[in-house]
């Protein structure tokens, strides 16, 4: 089957501010929950002592902040993939799928 070029109005577009919000915001919420659950049970100092030399010299505060940023980054990666997959999907015919309005 030959691939037809996308119609002009559905040409690839630049990420909108909504796309950015859809990536940054849910991953932020997920990072809050992840940090809460993770650091309630794991002491960042234990991780530092068990981890690579790179982490040596970091205190707990640094551990919490880096952990939070790490969770945020991972969440943002997942959200980015979700948004990308949704945005690049072949446009569905209206009414074709279940639940379409």
């Amino acid at each position: 089957m030959a691939l037809s070029p996308p119609p002009p109005h559905e040409a690839p577009r630049r990420p909108s501010s909504l796309d950015i919000a859809l990536v940054v915001w849910p991953s932020f919420l997920a990072a809050c929950v992840a940090s809460l659950l993770f650091f309630a049970t794991v002491d960042p100092e234990l991780l530092r002592d068990a981890g690579p030399r790179l982490l040596a010299g970091l205190d707990r505060e640094a551990g919490y902040a880096l952990g939070f940023l790490f969770f945020w980054a991972i969440g943002a990666l997942a959200s980015t993939l979700s948004v990308y997959l949704i945005r690049t999907d072949r446009p569905q015919k209206r009414g074709a799928g279940r639940g379409a309005s």
């Binding site: 909504l18 919000a21 809460l36 650091f39 309630a40 049970t41 002491d43 707990r60 919490y64 902040a65």
Partner: protein
Amino acid sequence: MTPPRLRVVPVAESGAFYAAAEKIYPREISGRFSRMRQGAVIALLGLFYGMPWLDWQGHQALLFDLPARKFHIFSLTLWPQDFLYLALLLIIAALSLFFFTALAGRLWCGYACPQTVWTELFVWIEQWTEGTRSRRMKLDRGPWTVEKVLRKSLKQLLWIALAAWTGFTFVGYFTPIRTLGAAITGLSLGPWSTFWVFLYGLATYGNAGFLREQVCKYMCPYARFQSAMFDKDTLIISYDEARGEPRGPRRRGTDARTAGLGDCIDCTLCVQVCPTGIDIRKGLQYECIACGECIDACDDVMDKMGSPRGLIRYTTEHALHGKATRVLRPRVLVYSALLLLAGGVLLYSLFTRMPLILDVIRDRNALYREVRGDRVENIFALKVINLDDRPHSYLLSAEGMQGLELIAPVAPIVVAAGSVSNIPARLDAPTSRAAGVHRIALSLTAVDAPGIHVHEKTRFIGPTP
């Protein structure tokens, strides 16, 4: 009479998922619900900004001391071991949200959500610096005059100062706020505290100053799923279509019915005061945060027109259809039962909380050692954690097998308030009785308070039989 219908209107009726946001200029209004909202804003923000400055028995009354991994809540000190309470608290918070939503709709959104509360505060500043709704709109349309620059700069200055103070207060819940304040004035604030102050300050500034209702419309998950907790007996803010339609302007003193009109004079004040910019007359919409500003606006107009209040009012779908509203219904009963259960478990476990933890770890180097010719010795590493806010001495005892004897420690173990003590323990038993593995228990009892007592199971190992 046809019953009024409640319609749910999508974000943009064009069908677009996202429409470029138009700036909303909420009109100022006073009335019953505005006063309640102002009261909520003052109470909640007063609590937020004031709480870290409150001291209790020599320490900050509420301090989530993350660097030390201890939470101080008045006299109570929670440790990471007390994770259960945090989990219960989160469950209770979620259940309360469900309960209040089922009962009275979006009370949370209208009165208690930080987004609403801080937005309200930022709007007050905006009104104070830039004036009323019409003046703000005129100012934005007009050219950049000296007055406009001054007014806008003053607003930004106040906003930034408030946001910075908010970030500082937020971090003050995690680092003693007086130390934090001293570190800031002494320009010796650590990099991570600086990072959190900026992040929280920036979030406050962005969310309450610029995003405002867009957070509720596009970012809030609760706004999307709250309708799942709604039923026809849930309190909602609704326009009484049967009474209001057909809407239209009329002279004061005109009898609406003889003129063929409903009570709505189409003044659009309800739209102008709405902080999310919707028209409540179009029916129940998920952008509505149930703040009640439109009720205040409409009641004012109805008073002036000499019509009864309540054209827009708190009501239920059943009431709008002329049916009885039931407050106690299965959904509400189930939520309240679960809430009572979770609350009961939390209170019970808090009141019966033992302020002492004993961890027993067997010595990893040797399973057992023969001593004095006819006895077998086992060595344990004890970790005694005193969770209480005063020091205690504890006596150790061992039981569970015949001839078992505690060699050390026999003197009381002294542990300071909120501290951990690591102590080796030695137990021995006659070789003749020690063969194999025996289940034993170690007990620790506070000398000054026999009620503080823990019991920890472990094993005593002897030669293979």
